[in-house]
Structure formats: C-alpha cells, structure tokens
C-alpha cells in the first residue's frame, strides 16, 4: 500500500504549495494594491496612536497640531481655520489625506527609518512625528484671500531666487478641522472648495502667456525688443482672421510696445514665425507638459499645456494652432502655479528654481532633520534675455495695461491677461515680479468668470499681495 501513500503525500505537498502560493499572493504580489485599497484603514488607524508633528507657517504660526483625546487617540486640530486650507490639506480616518498632510505624511508621522527610530521600535516606543515648517506667509495669505473678495480664483506668490512659496491662496476654502462632518457636502458643492485652484485649476492664460512667447522670441535671437511688426487688425492666423482687442489697428509697432499694449496680431505672428518646435522647447523649459515640481501630492498637481478632450496633447502635436497659442488662446490650459513659475524664471535671471512649500523638517527635540534649499529646475533663457523681457514687462506696468499694479517707489514688471470664456465673462490674469533690479517676489493672480479685465481686476490684487510681501 506504499504506492498510494506516496501519491497521497505528493497531493498534499501540492496543496501546501498552493497555500504558500496564496500567502505569497497577498504578502507580495498583491500587497501594494491591498495596502492602497480604499476599505483598508489599517495604516490610518495605526497613525491614530501617533502624535503627528506640527505644521507651522514661516512666522511660527501653528497651522496644524495633534491633541490627545479619549483612549490615547490623537485628534488633529487646525488653529487657523480655513486659512491655508489647501496647502495644509486634511487628515481624516474616513476621507483620507490631502495636501501637505499627505505629501509630508512620513515626516509628520515620524516614520523615518534612521537608527534611533529602529531602536525605539524594538523597544515598542512610538516616536512622535516631526514638525514641518513651511515657507508660507500667513499675513500675505490673508491679504490675498481678502483681496480676492469672495471671487473664485487663486493667488500664488514665490521667492524667485529660492523657490519658497509665500502665498498659495485658492478661493473658496474649507476648514480642515471640520472635514469629518463637512466632507460629503464639500465634495459635492458646485464651487469645488476642496479643489486647490493654485495647482489644480486649469484656465486659459490669455495674454499673460505672451511673456513666454516673448522669452522664446528674444532668446532664440530671432527678434529683439525693437523688432518691428505690423499690428493691424484683423490678421489671418492659421487661415482664420484674428482681431486685436476692440479691433484696434496699431500699424508697424516694435515688440516692446506690442507687449505694453498687448497686441494680439503681432504676438500671433511671432508665434507662427517661431513655430511649434521652438515654442514647445521653451514651454517645456518653463515646466509645461509636466507636473510642476512641488512637495505636494502628485494627483493634486496638474500639468499645463494644450489639452484636447481632457487629455494633454504632445507639445509638438499637429492639432496645435501655434499662432493662437502664442497669445494664450487655442486649447491652452495653465495652472496659477505654472504662471507664477513663468514670472519667477524671468525674475531670477532666466533660471527656474523648484518651488517648495516646506522650509525644514524639525524633530520633536528641535533638531533640524531636513532643510529644503534652493534647487535649480531648468535654465530657461539667457540672463540677457531675462533682462530684456523684464524691461519690456516693466513698461506694461508703467504705461500699459497693468498700471493698476504699480507700487510707489518700487519698479514692478508684469503682464495682464484676459481670456474671454463667453461674451462679457473673462478669466482674468496678472503675472508679475518686483522689484525689477532685485526681485524678491514673483506672483500669479487669476479670477474666474470676471466681468472685468486682467488690468482692472487681477492687477490690483497682485499689488496688495506684493506690497505685503515687500514691506
């Protein structure tokens, strides 16, 4: 009877092999998808027992703190209410995490894997989370929100030398401390208060995009600020007539003046002359067609570029009308963060640095664990080009469409944008930096569905925020 016993044993070995295989399936092959499963609250629950670190603004204002509650479980509170809600995000057992609460989760939860924490872990001690200090200026942020005055829109202000984000305003806001009860309502509200318009808002840039076209024109050496083009209206661009604002004709006009008065027909001709390839090259250097680098969750950062039916086109796609794109029309959609980066690159002698929200990570004992420094993203243009473009932009504020942004005693370089959504409804823009000789702030302001112009609605908001940051 030994034959059948041996075969029986073989069958049982196979069955045990299947057990090993299935254990491997859950522990190895499908572990990641199981850990990410929406029903799996294991990791969130574990973090209830951890004292998460503070989130602090640049001036030390506490933005988020963990408070010990019943049964030793920690609760997250946000002392500043809805101010900076989008940058901070939220932390909820039921609705997950967003914003910096998510992108800096490892630091805030103290799950760094250095030697000290391994010894703590062996001893079963839970380490408190690290504190995260931000670059954001709560005072300027408050001014930005007030200046938006209840209009939907966004303000992003950066230090062009370091990439430190000073203001990241998006209106409407939400209170991250109330997310446990308010989330379902917030998620379905038409104003989309959970959306961070600074990084997720996708808007037509209008004439503010002409700064980029200008950079490409000057930097390639094909044009100079004094190059003269014909600014009559209408002009045929890609076989379709294009008009200037109000149908105004400018005759032969140098590029500097064409920027000051935002002459569509001139910049469309420049775009056509440069062609798709050159425009694509400069757009990519500025960070278009990629998610902008930022210490913020990847799915809350959208790429800027030409979109068709909701998906990003190739930068050199044949569907791009390069003439109209050069003046910020066509299918171009951009985020306020991206436009602030455009201003920042011109401000910083043509060098684009990576924007960042975190200044440093500090452990509970006050030791600095990580300090976020300046890191170059791309050299976009020659320093000489940057100077010329800055000069052209300063004329916009001195005598052109952006006079409302002028600051007393400080030279401001800027560019307005007004993209018509429908008759009398515009997406209005203003991008700027100041002071011109030593820029300390680069800014992008946009307001949704405004009846005004970039120069009358967005420029005054930029003025107030720059004033607060330069004072």
């Amino acid at each position: 009877m030994s034959g059948p016993v041996r075969r029986l044993f073989a069958v049982i070995v196979l069955m045990f092999g299947a057990l090993v295989l299935f254990t491997s399936r859950w522990t190895v092959f499908e572990a990641k998808s199981l850990n990410d499963n929406a029903l799996n609250r294991r990791q969130l629950l574990e973090q209830l027992e951890i004292k998460r670190g503070l989130i602090r603004a640049a001036d030390g204002t506490v933005l988020a703190r963990s408070v010990r509650g019943r049964g030793g479980v920690y609760r997250r509170t946000y002392p500043q209410g809805d101010l900076l809600s989008h940058a901070i995000g939220y932390w909820s057992i039921s609705y997950g995490r967003a914003g910096l609460e998510r992108s800096r989760n490892d630091e805030l939860a103290g799950s760094g894997s250095d030697l000290g924490s391994i010894i703590d872990q062996l001893q079963g001690k839970r380490r408190d989370g690290d504190n995260v200090d931000l670059t954001l200026d709560p005072n300027a942020q408050r001014i930005a929100i007030n200046a938006l005055g209840g209009q939907k829109g966004s303000v992003v202000a950066l230090d062009p030398h370091t990439g430190a984000v000073k203001v990241m305003a998006s209106y409407p806001q939400f209170d991250p401390g109330q997310i446990a009860t308010s989330y379902p309502k917030l998620a379905s509200q038409p104003g989309a208060p959970l959306l961070n318009r600074a990084t997720q808002g996708q808007y037509p840039p209008g004439s503010s995009f002409k700064v980029l076209t200008d950079v490409a024109a000057i930097d390639t050496g094909r044009f100079s600020p004094d190059s003269t083009l014909n600014g009559d209206s209408p002009k045929t661009i890609s076989g379709v007539p294009l008009s200037n604002d109000g149908g105004q004709s400018f005759g032969d006009i140098p590029l500097t003046d064409a920027l000051t008065h935002s002459v569509n027909t001139v910049w469309a001709q420049v775009g056509e002359a440069l062609g798709r390839g050159t425009m694509a090259k400069y757009m990519e250097r500025f960070g278009f067609y990629a998610k902008p680098p930022l210490d913020y969750p990847s799915d809350q950062r959208y790429a800027s570029g030409e979109y068709l039916n909701g998906s990003l086109l190739s930068p050199t796609s044949g569907r791009i009308d390069v003439g109209r794109m050069a003046i910020g029309q066509d299918k171009l959609l951009v985020t306020p963060l991206q436009m602030a980066m455009v201003a920042a690159a011109v401000a910083n002698q043509g060098v684009l640095v990576r924007p960042h929200l975190t200044a440093r990570v500090v452990d509970p004992d006050g030791r600095v664990r990580d300090s976020v420094g300046t890191s170059v993203y791309h050299r976009v243009m020659k320093a000489d080009t940057a100077q010329k473009v800055a000069q052209m932009m300063s004329n916009v504020v001195k005598e052109g469409t952006g006079t409302a942004a002028a600051l007393s005693g400080i030279d401001v370089a800027g560019k307005t944008g007004t993209a018509e959504i429908q008759a009398g409804v515009n997406q209005v823009w203003f991008i700027a930096f100041a002071p011109i000789n030593d820029p300390r702030v680069a800014i992008a302001v946009t307001v949704e569905r405004s009846s005004g112009q970039g120069g009358t609605v967005a420029a005054p908001i930029a003025k107030q925020v720059m004033e607060a940051l330069l004072r």
Partner: protein, 430 residues
C-alpha cells in the same frame, strides 16, 4: 545517534524558540529583557523532557521527529496567544498540559492500539453522536461546531475526526480486498459489489448529512477528504476518489445554494471588496481584513508584537477571532511570508513523518490508521490556511496546536500519540 537521543536534541531548539518568543514580547512590552522568558523556556523544556522520558520508556522505537515538531508548533501557539492577549495564555498553557496528559495517557493505555478495532462500530456511533451534538447547543455564525456548557466551550468535531478515521481504517482493512476483487469494470470505471460498497455510501451520506447538519463546508471537506484518502490507500483505485469528489462537489453546490450562511460565505470569498458585502452583517469584512493583515505583513512581517489587532482607542478587534481560527493571518502579519512558510514547513514535516509511519507499518490497519490520521491533520491545516488565504471559502477550523482552544490541542495530541504508537510498532525490530 539513537532515535531517542535525536528526539531529545530536537526538543532543545523548540524550547529555545519559546524563550526567544517570550523575550521578544517582553522587550516589546516593557523595553527590558526579563529573565522570566528564560523561566518559561525552561518550564516548557521540562514538560517536553517529561514527555520524552515517557516515550523513551514506552515506545523506544517510535519516530524521533514527531515530538520535537509538535513542541515547536505548541511553542509558537503559546507565544502567539500570549502576544495577542496574555489573559488567554494561561488557558493555552492549561490546554497544553491537558493535551500532554492525554498524549501520555494514550501512549501508556493504548499501547496495543489494535484493540480499537474491536470497538469500531461503537467508536463510529460515538463519533457521529459527537458531531450531531452541537446541533442541540446553538450555532456560531450559522455553523454548528461547538457546545457551550458552564462557560466552557467544547468542539466535539476535533475528537470525532479521530474516531471516524479509526472506524474507517478498521472497516476498510476488512473490505478492501472485496471492494477491488469483487468489482466489475464498466466503461473503465470500477464498480464494487453493492454489499460491500453500501457502508461506504453510508459514510458518504453521513458526510453530506453533516454538511447539512453542521452547515460547515470546511469541516465537511476535512472529514470527507480523510475518508477518500483512506479509501484510496486501501483500494488504490483513483476512480473511487474521482467519483467521491464529484459527489462531494454536488453536495457542496447544493448546500452552497440552499443554506444562506454557507452561501454568504461563498459570496464573501468571491467578492471580498464589494462594498455591500463588506458592510453586511456576516459579510466579507472578515475576509477583507484577513487579506489586509497579510498584505501589511509582507515578506518579512511587521515584527513580533507589531501587528495592529485592535481599533485604537477602543477594545474592538480589527481582525475578528485573532487567536482562534484566524491566527494564521496574525502570524503572517508579524513574521511575514517567511515565517508562514516556516510554519507550513513544520506541518508538512509532521505529515511526512505520519505517512512514513504508514508506509513502514506491517499490517493494513496500522497503515490505514496512520495514513488517515495524517490526512485529516493535513486537511485541517489546508482548510483553515486555505480559508485565511482565500484559496477556498473561509470556514471555522482551528490551526492544530497553534490556535487557542482546548479541544483542538487535546485531540491533536491524541492524534500524534496514535501516530507514535503506529511508528513504534512498525520500527520495532524482529
């Protein structure tokens, strides 16, 4: 080295494992190495040595590996239970002591285990009685598996499985020849004479009845699988197994579609992450949590004592039944795929030793008994681990020697004692 000395040395690593396990728990709990873990290890070693001495005297030729392997499993069980909830560790140690008592009792009083053959019908009747008993006690999650009396829970199926194997081994020793010789072959299928096949149909019917009476797919699979294993070893006819499996599948299908709680178990098995099933009472929450716990463990595990068992701030279990049926998930969570493979390896080695005894045995009854006991043991591991890993629908069976529960430990100790008795007789010279 003699067999008994090999057994003796094999026990030392088992005791070291217990010491190491307790040390890890103490470090995790109080951040200090306590010499209590050494005491526990020494006590465990002492108990194992006592068992070894009895085996040395009573069964000098018995398989030397079975006892150390069982000691490893029991050690893992005690340490795991202590880690999950130390108030239950005491109970587990008491179960271990009673189990050891049964083990030694079986060795001493059933030295000639062949007397069991004389009482085979009584044993069969008793076993079926044991299986039906919980029906009068009340169900747990819809299945009738346990009897609750005076705060003590008794799982009769654990003992019934041994009784039924003893009966089948004895019955088939008598009839195996006629089942094959008297058979006619029709279309390549062996059809045994009805007179002798009848009782087997009765066994099949009983298994089906059990499926409906106990309402538990897993334990029915375990019993029926053991029956088919013994039948196969006795007759060497694959057709019997195939027909048997087909009939079982038919019965399982009928139960799966007609008994609501079995049906919901199957649904939960198929769609553990369906939100409706996940939130339903008795739905797929358990299966989903099992998989999450295993995924959390990964290859090397979270480390001893690092598994999240309760919802923070409350005493509610995140994973239901962590110390009984679902302990395998906690083991995978803490010591990972590697640890789980080690554990399955220990079980497989026990199975190998059991079958070895079956092959070496000199009489049919001993062969069938050893093969049957080993099969039922292996199938029990398969049913619960398969359930926890979603290989098959999850049903409530204990993980032998590791899960918390007196009946399971005591019955499995008796089972191993019988295997040792068979192997001693088989290896006795002359």
């Amino acid at each position: 080295m003699s067999a008994r000395n090999r057994e003796l040395f094999g026990l030392i690593p088992a005791a070291l494992l217990v010491t190491a396990g307790f040390t890890a728990i103490f470090i995790q709990r109080s951040a200090q190495v306590s010499n209590v873990s050494l005491t526990y290890g020494a006590l465990f070693l002492g108990l194992c040595l006592a068992a070894h001495v009895v085996v040395r005297i009573v069964l000098p030729y018995a398989d030397p590996y079975l006892l150390p392997l069982v000691a490893v499993l029991a050690g893992v069980g005690i340490v795991m239970i202590y880690r999950i909830d130390d108030t239950f560790a005491r109970g587990q140690v008491i179960s271990f002591l009673i189990g050891l008592g049964f083990f030694l009792g079986t060795l001493v009083f059933l030295r000639d285990y062949r007397v069991l053959e004389r009482y085979r019908y009584l044993i069969a009747l008793g076993s079926i009685g044991l299986l039906v008993l919980p029906r009068f006690s009340g169900s747990v999650n819809g299945a009738y598996l346990a009897i609750h009396a005076g705060g003590v829970t008794f799982q009769p199926a654990e003992f019934a499985k041994i009784g039924i194997v003893v009966f089948l081994a004895s019955y088939l020793r008598d009839t195996r020849q006629v089942l094959v010789m008297g058979a006619r072959r029709v279309l390549g299928v062996t059809i045994p004479p009805l007179k002798h096949f009848g009782p087997l149909l009765v066994v099949w019917g009983a298994a089906m009845l059990m499926l409906f009476v106990i309402r538990d797919l897993g334990s029915s699979l375990m019993f029926f699988g053991a029956f088919l294993s013994i039948l196969y070893v006795a007759t060497n006819r694959l057709s019997f197994v195939v027909v048997g499996l087909a009939m079982f599948a038919l019965g399982a299908w009928a139960v799966g579609t007609h008994v609501p709680h079995v049906h919901s178990r199957i649904e939960a098995w198929q769609h553990p992450f369906n939100r409706r099933l996940y939130e339903a009472q008795g739905g797929s929450y358990q299966v989903a949590q099992l998989l999450f716990a295993q995924a959390d463990g990964g290859v090397l595990g979270r480390g001893f004592g690092q598994s999240l068992l309760q919802i923070p701030g409350s005493s509610a279990n995140l994973l239901p039944a962590p110390r009984t049926d679902l302990i395998y998930a906690v083991i995978v969570n803490e010591i990972g795929l590697v640890g789980a493979c080690g554990l399955l390896g220990v079980y497989l080695l026990i199975v190998q030793r059991g079958f070895k005894a079956a092959v070496l045995a000199r009489d049919s009854f001993s062969t069938l008994l050893a093969a049957g006991l080993t099969s039922v043991f292996a199938l029990q591991v398969f049913v619960i681990v398969g359930g926890v890993t979603k290989l098959i629908p999850l049903t409530g069976v204990t993980l032998p020697f590791v899960s918390y529960g007196g009946s399971s430990i005591v019955a499995n100790f008796a089972l191993v004692a019988l295997l040792l008795l068979v192997s001693d007789r088989a290896r006795r010279p002359g």
